[in-house]
Symmetry: C2
């Protein structure tokens, strides 16, 4: 091959000489092209202004070595669709495979990682350290392929954690180790055809038969069929079933049970019907299915009874009397879903940006002068403006995702509310950010972005589901605002200071912003915090006052919320963006003076100012004047110019191995050469 390449080079040179005769006039000079396009690696022209390894540790936050170990395992195996492009090795799924093929290869990859001990302790170990390691490894799986991490997530985080959190000792002993070893394959049947976000409305119904000591699970109608159940179509042997529990004619609300749906050979069990959800726009490695229960009988012990139980003679007992609170207790452990979704969305955005920015540092288009060289994409101010603010947001959100994970693994009953609110906001904002980033990256790399092997475009389909699963983003944002509303009303009513949810700033007086915004003011962290606090405070006050007004006129609270959905969304965003800003500020504050802190300061200012620039609330409600907003816009442009020299270092710091990026991130001329066909 290297001989081939040498011949090719010689050919190119020969051709070049042949077609470059003396130029007779200035006219033809302007049209003639002296040389063919050559690939020049970004590393040749860009330098690192800070320690990228240190930055990577900061961004990944934890378990760097474990991550690298897993990257290595995947690169070593033939199962991960290794291929060579332009002299480099890449691993990523073959998305030209049918759904059926993608499902099988995903399952094989899971077996391989099992053999290598990747999941050791995922359910049998406990404590923050074990949980962080598990989260890190899951993130790496998601960087390879979202189907892989989702299929693992369903088995360990939904099925496994449901057993762990909703179940008690008898369930733990029977299932946790077996789940970790894939002796059983679990799925999680909550969503139904008729009810997704509104879990309380599910129609599956379970009764208790005291004569046999069994629960009887039934799907009373088509809308009650379990839907979207990952693993159900093909591989799962067992499932958690969410169902209304009807005891002696009284509906005790939604409860969770364990049911077997397939035997070891994969044969569907009696009284179970299963169908496929069919082909999807992404995640085709996950076998989503539908389940009907035909008066399926399960042992009384299969009720996951941490919150409530039914005695052998059929008496319902629960320590939590209020059914709303009981429902809440059931749902609380599911927060882990939002935590992992938020975090994996950011890793997906990182993959997109690493590819698009590396390409923009090697691809040229158009020249500015008649005979000048073509300009590197990232040297266009418009291209900087497209990608660099997204890069800054990804950094800030990366710290926010880490912070969320930390609160989550150290959770206590007291932190549940905060985790619920923050995870709802971050899940929505980070998944929308990912979709928006991938779309911009796909357009920024032009047609190359629609080739699946270049990933940026494909990731859109693979991650799209995140904006609606585990709660529609809009609904989640409204939940954030409702929680803030409740907090506000409660503090005001009891005349107590705000505590928690980052609302403490509301105890001080309203921040006053300077009328003139110089560059140094705009980059000052205190100013940025003040602006974000002012917005959050004002929107919260507006929202509560609007809702109160409507309630005063006899409207119900629910419909008052609905009418004010725009304010609710603005507030949810203001809350979440402030929380994000705080996490990058915290990260920055911990660093010693030096280049790392400096560049993080730049990135943080970019995050703060682009958030201001993009939110019309600042002008709409007059937090900033027109001149101020003009200053912000100019400062964003200036920051683009200052972040530009760090672009390569900033994406290198993501720590994603070359093999997990697309060919256009590297020598795309050679990757497309005839010799590679």
């Amino acid at each position: 091959m290297s001989e081939n390449r040498a011949l090719q080079r010689a050919n190119i040179l020969a051709n070049h000489i042949l077609r470059s005769p003396p130029l007779p006039s200035s006219l033809s000079l302007s049209l003639a092209r002296e040389v063919c396009l050559q690939y020049s690696p970004p590393e040749l022209n860009e330098s690192y202004g800070f320690d990228v390894k240190e930055m990577r540790r900061l961004l990944d936050g934890h378990n760097t070595e474990d991550r690298d170990w897993l990257y290595g395992l995947m690169m070593q195996s033939n199962l991960f669709n290794r291929k060579e492009r332009g002299g480099k090795i890449f691993v990523s799924p073959d998305y030209n495979q049918t759904m059926e093929q993608q499902r099988e290869i995903t399952m094989k990859r899971i077996w391989y990682l099992l053999e290598k001990g990747v999941y050791r302790g995922w359910l049998t170990d406990s404590g923050p350290e074990a949980e962080l390691k598990k989260l890190a490894l899951l993130e790496v799986c998601g960087i390879y392929d979202h189907s892989l991490s989702i299929k693992l997530g369903v088995h360990f985080f939904l099925w496994g954690n449901a057993v762990k959190f909703f179940g008690t000792k008898r369930h733990h002993e029977k299932w946790l180790k077996n789940t970790e070893d894939y002796v059983v394959k679990g799925c999680f049947a909550m969503t139904e055809l008729g009810h997704g976000s509104n879990v309380r409305g599910i129609e599956t119904v379970t009764t208790y038969d005291p004569r046999t000591g069994e629960f009887v699970i039934n799907t009373p109608c088509e809308s009650a069929q379990k839907y979207w159940i990952g693993g159900a179509a093909k591989h799962a042997t067992h499932t958690i079933v969410f169902s209304q529990l009807n005891i002696n004619g009284t509906n005790q609300g939604v409860h969770a049970f364990i049911a077997q749906i397939r035997d070891e050979d994969g044969t569907i069990c009696p009284n179970i019907r299963v169908a496929d959800c069919g082909h999807k726009i992404g995640l085709n490695g996950v076998d989503n299915g539908r389940i009907w229960f035909d008066n399926l009988r399960i042992s009384r012990e299969n009720l996951l009874n941490s919150v409530a139980d039914v005695s052998p003679d059929g008496e319902y007992v629960s320590a939590i009397k209020d059914p709303d609170q009981r429902f809440g207790a059931f749902m609380a452990p599911l927060t882990s879903g939002r935590v992992t979704i938020a975090s994996s969305a950011i890793y997906s955005a990182k993959v997109g940006l690493a590819i698009a920015l590396r390409y923009s540092l090697s691809r040229r288009a158009f020249s500015l002068t008649a005979n000048g060289p073509e300009v590197l994409l990232l040297d266009y101010p418009s291209h900087q403006r497209r990608l660099l603010p997204l890069l800054a947001k990804t950094y800030a959100m990366s710290f926010a995702a880490n912070d969320l994970k930390m609160i989550y693994v150290k959770r206590t009953p007291e932190t549940n509310k905060a985790i619920h609110v923050v995870s709802s906001g971050l899940k929505a904002v980070l998944t929308w950010h990912n979709m928006h980033t991938l779309q911009e990256c796909r357009e920024a790399v032009g047609g190359q972005g629609v080739k699946t092997e270049n990933l940026v475009g494909q990731l859109k389909g693979e991650f799209d589901v995140q904006t609606t699963f585990e709660g529609d983003n809009n609904v989640l944002m409204q939940q954030v605002s409702k929680a803030l509303f409740a907090e506000y009303v409660s503090c005001k009513k009891r005349n107590k200071p705000f505590r928690g949810l980052g609302l403490e700033h509301m105890n001080s007086s309203r921040p006053v912003l300077p009328t003139q915004l110089s560059s140094s003011t705009l980059r000052c962290s205190q100013f940025q915090k003040n602006v974000f606090c002012l917005r959050e405070r004002d929107l919260l006050e507006r929202f509560t006052s609007e809702v109160a007004q409507l309630q005063g006129r006899g409207e119900s609270r629910e419909s008052s919320f609905l009418v004010n959905h725009e304010l609710a969304e603005d507030l949810g965003k203001a809350f979440t963006e402030k929380a994000i800003l705080q996490t990058i500020l915290d990260a920055e504050a911990k660093l010693p003076a030096g280049s790392l802190k400096d560049v993080l300061g730049l990135v943080r200012s970019m995050y703060a100012l682009i958030s201001i620039e993009e939110d019309p609330s600042f002008l709409r409600y007059g937090y900033l004047s027109r001149d101020n907003v003009g200053d912000v816009r100019r400062e964003v442009s200036k920051l683009c110019g200052e972040v530009r020299p760090h672009a390569l270092a900033l994406v290198t710091s993501f720590g994603i191995p070359d093999a997990f990026l697309g060919p256009i991130a590297f020598n795309w001329v050679e990757a497309n050469a005839w010799s590679s066909v």
Copy 2:
């Protein structure tokens, strides 16, 4: 099956009775659900406030019967993947097929439509009527599948039109009829690996050999390989080759040639190498390929010589001396690409909205009161706010697309500039709108949107390429602004009034807006026009003044444009949105008083006000005050409530047959029933 269904119904009823015992307390009452969810068709609950057939004629604009004929042809054939879901027939491609399978079935569909005479006259007939018919039929093909319309588009609009417009009699006689009959299959090799948007920079080089009277086409290096060439990977027999033409050592710039690449049996010709572009995130029915030319010799007559020619002894002759103008003349006929892209983007948005809105009129979620019924999605103000403004935009843009087609088919040398500018703006705005609409529709239907059979999600991948092909949208928007700049400078310099491009309003004094905006003012067409004109005018003045200032400081015009890219994009958008508003105003004006005109007025006001609400320029540059903008926002909410009752009628008016929408647009409970498995 109907027996099955009856049994099922009886079962449901029995189950329902079994689980509805007398309720003992108010607590259980709030949790119990009386009945299972039932599908109720939107038609049962919604009424049509206007003549939907008349509205459909207005929206399609032309060739309604021809469209219906083609819809019928596709529904009748087994080739179009007909399937039953919930008792209804649907046609849409099986996207679980591999790329190879999708390519073959697409080609079979093309043959079938050929047999049915669909393409009769597409190249051999001329004149506006023939062109409109062709455009209408292509649009219908695109509603079935974007791959189908793109593969036809490459053959007829790129290859065929290149022969027709760049070629002369000798080419017409030889190729046009044969193309229409698919005796030859054409492709269009313009883009190269190294150069896409920047066509002038292509590196393929052609020389002339006067001894043999042949051109010699060569790919001098890897970056010069032809890339993304639709049809090249598998089916095409011939191609247009864009190449630098080097005559006696002088580069005469980009010219177009005809070359054969495969023989009738599909064997690749000597001196040609072909490779595949591989799997894509959509359009896998199109066989995009790459081509290398190894000193391929073609007859002198294969130069498409409408603009320039080479005499047998090798002398270059052209009526157009300026190479820039010559290049422009070559590119002008390609405008048809932007016309068809803009129009097909709007039809795709229509499919998405028809599905999402019909679903939102049959899907319920959450109840507002403890025991109340769940609320229809479209009765949530937030859901209205998500979808109805997009519906209004789609209406307005639909008229704009029709208008563009009319100018295009009636084009004269004088209208070329206007067509270029308007088609650039509309292509960018309409394709972005489509992507945005599909994303919102996909999220609005929840998880159902990720099933490919429900189309909304799949269409995103299928149409994604539109934002960058035939010119990156951002580049096109900058071109619009550059053209407006040139117009402005030229009028000012010559002290002449503005004429054309809709800039005539700049000859009058700056419109003065009222300080208070009542509801009736906001809905007044003159007010809306004034606001849009004011924005365009002010942004144009700002842009030219900023560019002039920089030029005054010694910057080149090109780099002055680049630095002001944000203003350029704002201006491009202002220009295009004003052009769109004008077309829906024109359509409205032509209607007699009545319900059709009334509802179109509502839709037009929604379009105007949502455009104002979404563009921060109005506040940023002070065209409107904060109070004004608050009024606009409230009016949009009010309009949502007023458009809501028309939602079904408005999407029915799209005239897309049920079979071309997704199953969730109809009885999605039955479509998912066990009996359908």
